[in-house]
Amino acid sequence: MNKSIKLLVGLCLSVIPLAMRGQGLDPSLLAKPATDSWPTYAGDYSQRRYSSLKQINQANIKGLTLAWISKLPIGAGGGGGFPGVGSESAPTIVGGEATGSVAIAGPPPRVGGAILQVNGILYMSAPDNAWAVDARDGVVLWHYFWKTKGGTHIGNRGMAMVGNWLFFETPDDYLVSVDAKTGKERWHKEIADFNQEYFSTAAPIAIENHLIVGTGDDLDAPGFLQSFDPETGALQWKFYTVPMKPGDPGLDTWKNLDAASHGGAQTWMPGSYDPETHLYIFSTGNPVPAYTSETRGPGDNLYTCSLIALNIDTGKMSWYFQTSPHDTHDWDSTQAPVLVDGVFAGKPRKMVMQAARNGYFFVIDRINGEHLLTSKYSGAANWAAGIDKRGKVVRDPEKDSTFAGSLVSPDNGGATNWPPPSFDPDTGLFYVQLRESYAMYYLTESNPRLVTGLGGKEEDAVGSLGPSLVAIDYKTGNIAWKYRFPGATSSPVGITGLLTTAGKLLFSSDMAGNLVAYDPSTGTPLWHSHVGSISNAPETYLLDGRQYILVAVGDSLLAFTLGQ
């Protein structure tokens, strides 16, 4: 190619941004810290949810204003009674293996997970639905609708992208690949057994020539993580998170093989990836039966409620650390494992950090799994007797669910839950939305043989100290600051996740309908906009020289930028 043609191509690209549309995802973006685009679940593999963008910053935050709002079409009928900007002309592509129609109870689909931003297009999903939206103006470009066989429609955490292909999971356990340009389906593949009540909500993660796919189950099926070929959908490896046969490691922590192989440890949240070590680090859900634990034996029940590091090419475990040994409250430890490079005890370390649903914060060396720190970040958490020398949280059996009732914090929702935390390398602080709620936990079935999954228990909410935003100093485990959200003291409320940026800003919902920018050093609110019930973690991207802050409110997207 000679110089003048190069120049011409360059001019076309800069003058006509539409020419960029439909170009595939540059794979090198995935391995870099989040900047202009948002090519994977957390913006990058580290799950810090920290963007190096700083066009929007503390000095100009007061000028942040709404750029566009877009309401997404839902269901098979295109607009489906939800006409909105751009939705009338957007094609709806229908897929799925269901032969009849299934009435799905509960709230309509909402965007609760990640929104990808690649080459000026946003890609998002909700149970049975996926969309592409123009990132400049919110116009809906296409809508994909999956006719479901059923399954638990509790959420969808987002999509993965490889080249020009998108991937998402469905509640009835399919992995679907569609063309990012048109929304047309390339293939779908069954990833788990619907009859065993698996349901799939995770965001797949694309890593080199692997697509890492997790799933979920609330009956008593075993957890597993799978790697698929992004081109063909062929299975590359499958890693079970509980012992499945005699001789499997961890079996001695269960009553017997039957208990272990029906022991849970689901993989319903995406993990993080360290390109240097080729380790995929993810975390597992609770053991089952969740509350009546005697049929599991007295042991730790590996590898439930654990951080696990797998070699991405082989699917073999490199190390694990269990954050809730022998959990008895259905507190999945599926919270984001956040990868941080920094100094710990005077030494440079490559770490993974997690603020777990049980109210404890962990720092682990991610190269070898060495435990570095355990601290309690929920003042209310009262279920444990202490922390042992190895950093293991020791449960207090008096605070298990009981027939007469136990007053326990956290409630089942946890001290936090799957909504993402954030780590800001500028402040060195780990931020998490904290819930300090209490519940009476009761066992309601006297015969343990009858109990499977989440059965045999009743939980009654009895009050809350109120939700807050906390900043944890990972070097000490101390709380650097705690901001109690005003006005939300009496009832447990939803948390939706965080974003930090190099503009010295921390974005969060305030649980009262506001999107708020806080000072990450102090927790002081600097800017807010009342948008309604925020349903996902805020994100940011840079397009045509403008930085946007993006957030979902149910079936609507709102993008903010600086006023001109």
């Binding site: 109870a105 509960g106 709230p107 209310a380 009732g405 009832s491 409320v493 948390i495 506001n514 019930s533």
Partner: protein
């Protein structure tokens, strides 16, 4: 084969509605409920008996079977299979739990189960059984009649939650617990032991009647707890008082009779004082001991 079965399972949409009412499928993957009503807010899902949000069930549900067939299947099962699998089919010393076995879950009318019964599973120590078609299909019907999941179902045997000491509860009420500073068993709590079942009463004495719902759920309870009120003091010294309608870092709103007032908050102005009548109960939560809770319940059920 698969698609035909799916059609059988999914055409009757009514099954899902029935299932939704009997088995509230709260999930381990707790949904984040909406915290404040916004323009796009969905109506809140009703709380199920387990205290969780009602979420879509939509797993294969089987139509109810003829009780006589279930009973016959149960008898045949007990005679030939119960020794290894347990008479309730939930597993024994040598045989696995069949209620949640993948093969049984995949089976529709005995077509998968029959080959296991007739051929045995020699590698796993299960012998062959000679059995007629009807007996096998009745065993299948019996196995399919057992719930895989007991969520939302009542206990198979009564559970007594009254393990506390009523006398110690009375002492706590009038002493260390300081309950009598706000409450009286001859006043606001008169006859309370007759109004509620013990569990409801116990939850009420902890929460004060507030409870709550969402993100983990809770039945809460309707009670006569007075509303949270707020006093807003303007820089001029003028005060507004009323029911708290909204509070965040930027706005406070209150109602008083028909009137609704909203004030922007800037740099701590106006002054906002919230009065939550349940605050004493919230303050007790971090130090409330289960023994004291159980004793108080044992005492209050006697207040009739």
């Amino acid at each position: 084969m698969k698609s035909r079965l799916v059609a059988i399972l999914f055409v009757p949409g009514l099954i899902y509605i029935a299932l939704a009412q009997t088995s509230p499928p709260t999930s381990s993957q707790t949904v984040a409920p909406t915290a404040a009503p916004g323009p796009q807010t969905a109506p809140a899902a009703p709380a199920g008996p387990g205290g969780g949000r009602l979420l879509p069930p939509a797993y294969p549900a089987r139509p109810p079977a003829d009780p006589a067939v279930v009973q016959h299947g149960k008898q045949v099962f007990a005679v030939s299979c119960g020794f290894c699998h347990g008479s309730d089919a939930r597993g024994g010393e040598t045989g696995p739990n069949l209620v949640r076995s993948q093969l049984v879950l995949d089976d529709q009318h005995g077509e998968l189960i029959s080959s296991v019964i007739r051929n045995g599973r020699m590698d796993k120590g299960m012998p062959k059984f000679e059995m007629g078609d009807t007996d096998i299909s009745d065993i299948a019907t019996f196995l399919h009649s057992l719930p895989t999941n007991i969520r939302g179902l009542p206990s198979s045997a009564p559970i007594n939650i009254l393990i506390g000491d009523a006398k110690a509860g009375e002492e706590y009420f009038n002493g260390h617990g300081k309950c009598n500073t706000c409450h009286s068993v001859s006043g606001d709590l008169a006859g309370i032991g007759a109004k509620y079942d013990p569990k409801t009463l116990q939850n009420l004495l902890v929460s004060g009647g507030g409870g709550g719902s969402g993100f983990g759920g809770g039945t809460g309870s309707a009670s006569r707890v007075p509303p949270t009120t707020v006093t807003v003091t303007l820089p001029s010294g003028r005060k507004y008082e009323g029911k708290l309608a909204h509070l965040d870092a930027f706005n406070v709103a209150l109602t008083s009779g028909e009137a609704y007032r909203s004030f922007a908050i800037n740099s701590g102005t106006p002054k906002v004082e919230v009065h939550n009548p349940l605050q004493p109960h919230i303050d007790m939560l971090p130090n409330f001991k289960d023994t004291d809770i159980h004793n108080l319940t044992a005492y209050l059920v006697t207040v009739k």
